[in-house]
Symmetry: C2
DNA sequence: TTGTAGGCGTTATCAG
DNA sequence: CTGATAACGCCTACAA
């Protein structure tokens, strides 16, 4: 039962091992009778081909890779990442691929993990997230000709496959919403400054301000890590300003919730004294008091496009690099 | 650059391919000079062995499998699972293993996924979670002699490797805490009734009641799905009872938060009119108002033990099956 | 239509 | 101590 291989099946069915292989691969030109004979044995023993041998032979593992730049605890509590991973697993499964997830805490180990995944050919392709302006990984992977897609942005935009939210537009929309509510002193809480998402959303923020004749005040644009603690820190900084803002757009819900908590801790009422908009529309939004207004990202769509493009790339159906933009929308709740 | 193999290295170093392999595997009996010559070429070209070939040859992939019985969206928003996955990735990485995560929505596809992972030998071993009393998977895997560990419980307990929280004890402790606060009408909200966790925590609940002479009322023990919606439903049921409870222990934080929300929506004050204890001590606890008292599970410890035992099993260091219990503790906040 | 045989890149067992 | 050589299980020309 344990070490079943095609040659065993062949013996029992009285055919050659090659025929077994052909039957299993639906080769149309095998005699119907033999096919049945082989299939009968295969079924009865529950034979399934060895993925390791197939991987070597076919030069592909049917494994997709995703490396997350988070410590385990940060990953665990970031609903955006959890949702993304879940959606990718789902999509990959539909195409008969599996997902191999790795985490890289330190910058040094990041490098090593990407190298290992790439060079060992353990995975057929990679999905990249959280791109930086001059992303080392992207340069490396393009140069090696390794299949990958980016969820994010990279320049020049037509150089690689990428999928992204309409970050600039979504951010502009969110700020315009705040302006329409009468706010003019609006802060922006970004994630790490190097990330393209941070910058794109900053740009949308600035565009909206400019369009409404509100001067951009650099004191109101802060960068922090994507966590509740990061949001709390940022809010402390904002409140120590001479002229604190009356509204803020945070780059994700964790930051927004952290900021909200810190403000409330100091007796500031939301939304009366401080309006807050988050990003990602995670379930957190409806759990906090008041419920958080947030920009909804279509994570399943992001995952779907990324996965499908990657599989196309892997399977050699080469099309020219494509950039896909997934729309976002504002979900109004009580925090504005 | 692309298709580098040992034979290329061998040619450039002027040795045989076998020697290259030996050097890479730290065979102590290769001449130091040759070793250096080979290593020089390896370094300069950045050669790394092909994992696919190694997998076939060694009959192992260095991949661990985890199948999550959740729909993508449910998985995404369940902090317990996210934390568990993250911790396993972390541990596996330390032993040079990777994690392959799959999700099985329907019962039918579950079966298929386990079969495929097992039979194709795509992964070297499996980590199982959410065991049921008569778990099909476990019977199957034991029978096939496939390496696996269970995070949960299965009987007989010494038949397999398993790691578990002290669920009975933890639950008893939580209920005793509620009793010490003067409650006598205490409800239990379990997850799906077939799961051993659900039953174990129910048992601890009953033991605590019994010990304090409080009769067990089956109307107060409800089973629902692990989600906020599940908790809301359950609370509705509880409140429609003739004698609603004044306190409740929920099997996880999602259920607890759902129950809390529903109670608050109906004007019930927490903890004055209804005390609530959750399970897992996820970050949700400090996000809700009032902050949720919860039983803290040591997820990293669970992941560590499970991963290490599994790797032992895979690598053939056979010890007799072991059951490990990880202690839990109560984290008191404001909801009691 | 079917069988034979070579090779995917490694590792490990032999001789030398 | 090193170099041929044979697997590992599968797929696919090529030959029959």
């Amino acid at each position: 039962m344990a070490d079943l291989k095609q040659i065993e099946i062949a013996r029992l069915a009285g055919v050659s091992q090659a025929t077994v292989s052909r039957v299993l691969n639906n080769d149309p030109q095998v005699n119907e009778e033999m096919r049945q004979r082989v299939l009968a044995v295969v079924e009865s023993l529950g034979y399934v081909p060895d993925a390791r041998a197939q991987s070597l032979r076919a030069q592909r593992t049917r494994l997709l890779g995703l490396v997350v730049h988070r410590s385990p605890s940060a990953l665990a509590y970031d609903p955006f990442f959890s949702a993304l991973i879940a959606s990718i697993i789902d999509q990959a499964g539909k195409h008969n691929y599996h997902l191999c997830v790795d985490a890289a805490r330190t910058a040094r180990s990041q490098r090593a993990i990407y190298e290992e995944l790439l060079r060992t050919r353990r995975v057929d392709g990679l999905i990249l997230v959280e791109s930086e302006t001059r992303d080392q990984r992207i340069a490396r992977l393009s140069q090696e000709g390794f299949p990958f897609v980016l969820i994010g942005r990279y320049q020049p935009e037509d150089a690689i496959y990428s999928v992204d939210n309409d970050n600039i537009g979504a951010s502009r929309m969110a700020v315009e919403y705040l302006i329409s509510k009468g706010h003019t002193r609006i802060a922006y809480l970004g994630g790490p400054a190097g990330l393209t998402v941070t910058r794109d959303r900053l740009q949308g923020y600035r565009e909206a301000l400019e369009q409404h004749g509100i001067p951009y005040d650099p004191c109101l644009a802060l960068f922090t890590e994507s966590s509740i603690a990061g949001g709390m820190d940022a809010m402390r900084d904002l409140l120590s300003l001479d002229q604190p803002p009356t509204a803020l757009l945070a780059m994700d819900d964790l930051i927004a919730v952290g900021a909200m908590r810190e403000a409330q801790r100091r007796g500031i009422r939301i939304p009366q004294q401080m309006a807050i908009v988050g990003f990602n529309d995670t379930p957190l939004c409806s759990l906090v008091e008041p419920a958080l207004t947030s920009v909804a990202i279509d994570i399943p769509a992001l995952a779907r496009v990324a996965t499908e493009h990657l599989i196309h790339l892997i399977e050699g159906r080469t099309v020219s690099p494509i950039r896909t933009i997934v729309p976002a929308k504002l979900v109004a709740r009580e925090s504005v």
